[in-house]
Subunit: 443 residues, 2 copies
Amino acid sequence: MSQKIVSLTVRDVRFPTSVEQHGSDAMHTDPDYSAAYVLIDTDSGLKGFGLTFTLGKGTEIVVCAVEALAPLVVGKSLQEIVSDFRGFYRLLTSDGQIRWLGPEKGVIHLATAAVLNAVWDLWARAEGKPLWKLLVDMDPKQIVSCIDFRYITDVLTEEEAHDILVKAQEGKQQREDEMLKGGYPAYTTSCAWLGYSDQQLQQLCTDALQSGWTKFKVKVGADLEDDKRRCCLIRQMIGPSNTLMIDANQRWDVAEAISWVSSLAEFNPLWIEEPTSPDDILGHAAISKALAPLGIGVATGEQCHNRVMFKQFLQASALQFVQIDSCRLGSVNENLAVMLMAQKFQVPVCPHAGGVGLCELVQHLILFDYICLSANLHNRMCEYVDHLHEHFTSPVVIQDAHYMPPKARWNRKESNEEEVQSFGYKRFAFLKCCGLKVLSVWA
Amino acid sequence: MSQKIVSLTVRDVRFPTSVEQHGSDAMHTDPDYSAAYVLIDTDSGLKGFGLTFTLGKGTEIVVCAVEALAPLVVGKSLQEIVSDFRGFYRLLTSDGQIRWLGPEKGVIHLATAAVLNAVWDLWARAEGKPLWKLLVDMDPKQIVSCIDFRYITDVLTEEEAHDILVKAQEGKQQREDEMLKGGYPAYTTSCAWLGYSDQQLQQLCTDALQSGWTKFKVKVGADLEDDKRRCCLIRQMIGPSNTLMIDANQRWDVAEAISWVSSLAEFNPLWIEEPTSPDDILGHAAISKALAPLGIGVATGEQCHNRVMFKQFLQASALQFVQIDSCRLGSVNENLAVMLMAQKFQVPVCPHAGGVGLCELVQHLILFDYICLSANLHNRMCEYVDHLHEHFTSPVVIQDAHYMPPKARWNRKESNEEEVQSFGYKRFAFLKCCGLKVLSVWA
């Protein structure tokens, strides 16, 4: 069967998370978790689902961008795409007229991510595997054939990437079995959004400890005294042996970041996340250097817009934790490039997740990272946030603070045309979005 | 009069420049010069006009983004905006939901530029001055009050910026008189687009020499032998004392850039423009270092997306020519920040222009740069491209290869409601766009 793509549809889906201050931080005080949600139809009846995450207002702009990319996708067959996936990636990112709007950044790259995420989903469905398993089963040559090495060859060539993948083949099956049994370690961000009261923090932290969580992230950056009180409270509750991370969501300039975080050093955070502008590689390098003596690393990436930026963050020793995002980078293709560079520099990948659908997406990437690249769990963990999973037909499964690998569900029957299919990469249910909890759906 | 903004309208305007290969380069082979064009109406009847430049496809995405920003503008008075212009800038760039789509990059920042360009136009009209004169007449305190210093204070604080401006007051009147008399030096890109035949090159170069041009830019990067032939041809025609620049429009990776440009060193180019990804600060630094012994500088900026990136290009000695853009950065506000940082690092500003309206816009900024900042013309020049000026009611005036400062035309009568007003910052004629030459107007 050719799996020719006959149409691409995109929807604007929004949830009113701001009402209860879920997701609130020092720069995003009232996010309404949203998505530009893409559906690809093929002539065989098989579908692919993809999304990119947004914060509410402006989702319609990303929808408009997806529509601008659609003509590059519709009419192609899956086979045609995956037999030259690098070429297809470049077709989407390098159109001579559209690339002016990026290139490979902002709205147009978010749209590229949503479209490519749907193509990867289609591929996984066609193979009858969850995405992580599709990736794990690919040979190194096929993996590198999906990557556009343009602008990163000074740090990673195709040959070098291939060698890294070949070298990591050893013990692969064992690691896959290990993941299927125990899952990938996670940390929680759900206890300490900036807009939560101390009472809420305490209650959520108590619950999380009881559920087996050992790693906790706290939002900081709006008010130093508040931050001290909140960090003190959380550290007291979790004790000295559990892990605390802090996240400023780009609130500071370089000097302010150094002094502010130094004031919080007594609470022994593993990392400070997004201390300043996501574009400021040299700024992050200065902060990293200043905080190293305090034992605090710098983490960033959820708004790092492409592989060229990650390349430089690694070259400049500007981060100690690489936070890839499944929807900000150009889907699996560009994430593969970044994970390979991180492996070369021996910097741990700790994905950004949360929002809507990010956990469901990024778990596949981090499973690939462990099984086929890093073979290492030291200082490695994937973010988890417990909102909005109920809107997915197959939400992530967390067990004892670990992401349990999604399994293919070969025989699941699809209910009807309008309901989304139920296994594979992304499984967002359209119909549920039309219910009470959805702020708006512009279809 | 309050000048309260009562509406903001945006249009998608496109010209079929690709038909004759105007604007063609190694990465943008078929640009249709276009604009998202903004019109602001006030309760006094005064209007403001602004635009951001695009290459055709995708202009509708920028239009959609402008519409998303409109609610932040409509209802405000000009007085309210300019009395806290830094605050207004941050309102547009830091909305807690919309900033996720950037921040300050890509589509959303292009839209910000178009909107703010219209606000600056409105201000200039309200003052009855062309924009450059409005800027030149502002005192240093008022200038710095327009700038958002967030994320650049490690390189430039408000106090430092103020001091630089105060120091440059000396000789200001003399430089203004000098500009009014002789204009600002320009170079031409119109002779050597990549899609032009050798015969066209020769004819255009002959014409340009006769019109007094002494500085010429050649597009390179698609084929080395072609580049050698074209550079040789142009260098022979212009002779050894005139200036040649080359422009690769991001075609290469770092190592390839160094070897390719070294092969063209015999033609003695002043700079290589955009050798690689516009995001690759460290790559540009490596290229700069390698080419310095050959006497070739690196120029970049037309796709450098914000002040944080320019800050790092300057910190890393990654460019020797700062190419600001009037529509890629956040309008006059962010360009002021970049020009001030360039002045601090003593790196010449040589603006990007061309496209549609970019010459009309950026001439105001470079006049300010000379009169109020640099006081220096060594290795400084503004790009000029001679397409599409006929669509402006008051096109740029070039005299002996110099930009002649636009003058206020106090008494010019406006023809009717639908025709755009005719003095001030930007003067794009809507009605002309509906004629034969326009590819499409989506109103």
